[in-house]
């Protein structure tokens, strides 16, 4: 009993310490007039004054707002429509489409953005092929409109995930009632099904808007040629603005970003509670029956395939092609230029080989350790309603508001600032810690949904039979969530392979991971290596996906 309480306290305080130290550090650094490692730093608002006087900051803020709004307007209607088609109707090929829809969630945005450049950029594959047909290229992937459009299209799956799980909980009787009253499938969707899941749509809308303020990879790659900055890329460009690292300025921008994202996180939390109340009121899901689309189904299928072509096929085919050819252009037969040279180059550079090994390790070993950490935190909060579980609640909530790029930066400071930790700075421990905190909320959702599936009476039965609390955990709860933990491991593996922004500031010899290297290689212009590494990155995620499918891991709830 005592040891159980002690270990619970230890888990919770360690979690809170790990989560809040970096955030406190960001706020502290933003109030200094120079980087914290400089002598004679003073408290003050100089950093904010500098940022608020910089016209680039306002341009970046405006662009972020525009992208977020664009994403909201594109992703919510399309995600809702896609969810309705896949969850409620007899659309042909649903199984495969549903899998393909999730691809953008698991592929690094860095890779996707790069794929758009090589596929549809000024000298991209598709551009080159289509130029003879179209005369001049009617699109420009580097414009703000394109960035917002691509961001919107690639975030459709986020809306799809939330609305389809809500739609699946809806009994088909309400739709059948509408059909009998004389509504066609489109009217059923617009008048009955989608309004009934409006809480989920609203929630996913806020989520997408929030993600719009976080995105980094897409605007970094696509916005650079024409100088379009968003908040995250503005912060990234500040790194060396004044010659020395301008940590105080970056911290001030980071605080500004958190000032936007944190209220959005709170709003999401409120909406999620409201939405789950909505679902509970509906009670048990009634019998499910698919809505026949009739002749409409071919039109619907064509639209879905068009979206898939634009969002998945164009960037992925571009990047894969780019990795295997040495040059291309009008009139060039790509078969003649096939090569494995880019991959050979990678295996010749020790730092890149290290990146491959580290990436696999962070996914496999780091993912397993992260799942163990999440499980420990999950158990500490399992079926408790006290002050300590509130601490857990907020320790999970707050990091959601800190984008990966900022979290990586803050952890860099933690390792520089906290005595005794500097030895870990050049090791994968620093990367693991940052990844684990950045994905804390996601991981905790996986673990707690596994924990919630254990009926409370199974644990109570053990207690009544004579088992102490910790014994019950060991003999009943943990064995029953074993599959949930393995499933979470696979999903965390994919997420850790996909992650790129968190490692950007933690990148040193010894801590290379593919995601962060893509950012720095892209900046250095090593396009061949970026293409080859992207393909390797996609293969790693695909391997995770294959394992998940093989063992029937649910990719979403």
């Amino acid at each position: 009993m005592r040891t159980a309480a002690l270990s619970r306290g230890a888990v919770i305080s360690l979690t809170a310490l790990t989560v809040f130290t970096p955030i406190v550090l960001i706020f502290y650094q933003s109030l200094l007039n120079a980087p914290f490692f400089m002598p004679n730093t003073q408290l003050g608002l100089d950093a904010y004054r500098f940022v608020f006087d910089d016209p680039d900051f306002y341009q970046a803020f405006g662009n972020s707002l525009m992208i977020a709004t664009g994403m909201l307007c594109i992703a919510v209607p399309m995600g809702g429509a896609l969810a309705f088609l896949l969850a409620r109707t007899d659309l042909p090929g649903k199984r495969w489409i549903e899998l393909a829809v999730l691809v953008p969630v698991f592929i690094s945005p860095m890779v996707l953005a790069f794929g758009y450049v090589v596929a549809a950029g000024p000298v991209g594959f598709f551009t080159v092929w289509l130029r003879p047909l179209l005369g001049e290229t009617p699109w420009n992937v580097y414009s703000m409109t394109s960035i917002a459009l691509i961001a919107g299209l690639t975030h459709v799956p986020h809306v799809f995930l939330y609305s389809s799980s809500a739609l699946r909980n809806l009994g088909s009787d309400v739709e059948e009632a509408a059909r009998i009253s004389g509504a066609n499938p489109l009217q059923v969707a617009l008048n009955v099904s989608l309004p009934m899941v409006s809480p989920a749509l609203l929630y996913s809308g806020v989520l997408v808007f929030f993600l719009g303020f976080e995105i980094f990879g897409l605007p970094l790659v696509l916005g650079d040629p024409e100088g379009h900055l968003v908040l995250a890329t503005y912060l990234y460009k500040l790194t060396n603005k004044l010659g020395t690292p301008s940590y105080h300025l970056m911290a001030a921008v980071a605080v500004c970003i958190i000032a936007v994202t944190f209220p959005l996180v709170l709003l999401q939390r409120y909406l999620l509670k409201a939405a789950s109340r909505f679902v509970t009121v509906k009670g048990k899901a009634a019998r499910q029956k698919q809505l026949p689309l009739g002749p409409w189904k071919w039109l619907a299928l064509a639209l879905v395939l068009l979206w898939l072509w634009l969002t998945v096929l164009v960037p992925l085919s571009g990047i894969v092609l780019r990795a295997f050819v040495s040059y291309w252009g009008e009139g060039v037969n790509l078969l003649d230029t096939l090569t494995l040279a880019h991959f050979r180059e990678i295996f010749e550079q020790p730092s890149l080989v290290r990146a491959l090994i580290n990436s696999v390790l962070i996914g496999v070993v780091g993912g397993a350790l992260a799942v163990l950490a999440y499980t420990a935190i999950g158990l500490a909060g399992h079926r408790r309603q006290d002050a300590l579980s509130k601490v857990i609640d907020y320790s999970v909530l707050v990091p959601r508001a800190v984008p990966g790029l900022l979290a990586g930066l803050a952890f860099l400071w933690v390792f520089l600032f906290v005595p005794g930790l500097s030895g870990l700075r050049d090791t994968m421990v620093s990367i693991w810690l940052a990844y684990t905190v950045v994905w804390l909320a996601y991981g905790m959702r996986l673990i707690s949904s596994a924990l919630l599936q254990v009926g409370p009476e199974l644990e109570e039965a053990a207690r009544v039979t004579g088992a102490s609390e910790s014994r019950t955990r060991r003999d009943v709860t943990l064995p029953l969530v074993r599959f949930g933990m393995l499933a979470s491991w696979v999903l965390i593996f994919m997420i850790f392979e996909r992650e790129y922004s968190t490692g950007v500031y933690l990148l040193t010899p010894g801590t290379e991971v593919i995601g962060a290297l893509l950012v720095s290689l892209w900046a250095a212009g090593s396009i061949d290596q970026v293409a080859a590494l992207s393909v390797i990155n996609i293969s790693l995620v695909a391997a995770g996906l294959a394992i998940a499918l093989r063992f029937g891991v649910k990719l979403h709830d």
Binding site: G455, E457, A462, V464, S468, D475
Partner: protein, 357 residues
């Protein structure tokens, strides 16, 4: 099997969730070898009371004692953890651990009590055999039928000889037909093993069939307690009378009161009954009579009333008649189909209870 000093005593137990009082001072005793049912509608606090005895809910005040050992004492701030209480609980959902075989489910309590392996094997085998489960020992719960799962849950709760076994709606997960068989089987098991059992149920027939005593709960208080017969034949209030059995209720006005008897009248009917409580003529009252006490008579007589028949329904072993006196309904049983028209009904005076209110 149970030791003579193992009486379970619950004294003025109170329990609340936030501002919401669930139990408002409940007291009762459970003597060794006795079966007591907690009966009540949903929300009456019966399950909470059972869980509080088990230690799964935390009362705010009162005492729970078994023999010499105190399980809960609000005044002394003593709340023995669930696992230290040594009780047996059969869950409504059975709560069998899906990752363990039947044998391991039953053996767990003994393992926790550090019983030697050979003893565990022998005692579990014996428990399984006595519940006719011996051949299922190596199965997993999902391979069992509902009735078998229930027996495993009971075996698991009994194997370490708890002083009191708690049953939470033990029959509600079974099919209607199976339920009646299981009811007599369970009663037989409890009686032959000499167990002390506290049982929660919302079904009055089940409560009467299973138990030596019934506690009827209403809004967190005990409304009435007694043997099934006392509860059925001598209810203290309209609520108890209505809860037990199938009843006819007629609302009317008291027209005459004489030596504990009263005459009640409504639209076109009037009869005598025994008065429960104090009332003067002119007061509104409810008359209540069990369905099976109403008889169809050949003609007028003492306490006979004539009513128009609405319909007769064939139930297999008997007929049910429906009459419509004014805006209410009156139902009765009989052995043959009745023709349309008015019929005389005999309402024996001692079977009619009149509750002022």
């Amino acid at each position: 099997m149970t030791k003579p000093n193992n009486t379970l005593k619950v004294e003025s137990l109170c329990l609340q969730y936030g501002d919401n009082a669930i139990l408002k001072g409940v007291s009762f005793d459970l003597n060794p070898g006795e079966v007591v049912s907690l009966l009540g509608a949903s929300g009456s606090g019966k399950t909470t009371l059972l869980r509080a005895v088990a230690g799964l809910e935390h009362p705010s005040s009162g005492r729970i004692v078994i023999g010499d050992s105190v399980l809960f004492d609000g005044a002394a701030r003593l709340d023995l953890p669930v696992e230290k209480r040594g009780l047996g609980l059969v869950f409504q959902s059975y709560a069998l651990w899906p990752h363990r075989t039947v044998f391991d489910n039953v053996a767990y309590g003994l393992k926790l009590r550090k019983v030697a392996d050979a003893d565990i094997r022998q005692r579990v085998d014996q428990a399984l055999a006595s519940l006719d489960l011996a051949h299922l020992a190596e199965r997993f719960p999902h391979q069992l039928s509902g009735g078998q799962q229930q027996r495993v849950a009971i075996a698991r709760a009994l194997v370490y000889n708890p002083p009191v076994i708690l049953l939470d709606e033990p029959l509600s997960n079974l099919d209607a037909k199976l339920r009646e068989e299981a009811r007599s089987w369970l009663r037989e098991l409890i009686v032959t093993l000499g167990l002390s059992a506290l049982c929660v149920t919302h079904d009055q027939t089940e409560a009467m069939a299973m138990s030596d005593r019934i506690l009827l709960l209403k809004d967190g208080r005990i409304e009435q307690q007694g043997t099934p017969q006392e509860m059925y034949d001598n209810p203290a209030s309209l609520f108890v009378a209505d809860f037990m059995g199938n009843n006819n209720r007629l609302n009317g006005q008291i027209s005459e009161v004489r030596d504990g008897r009263a005459r009640i009248s409504g639209e076109g009917w009037s009869f005598w009954g025994s008065l429960r409580g104090d009332a003067q003529p002119g007061r509104a009252a409810t008359a209540m009579i069990r369905l099976e006490r109403v008889r169809v008579a050949d003609g007028p007589g003492d306490n006979h009333i004539a009513l128009p028949l609405v319909t007769s329904m064939f139930l297999g072993d008997r007929w049910e008649y429906l009459f419509h006196p004014g805006h209410t309904r009156l139902r009765a049983y009989g052995e043959r189909a009745l023709g349309a028209g008015e019929h005389w009904l005999a309402l024996p005076e001692q079977d009619v209870w009149i509750f002022p209110g």
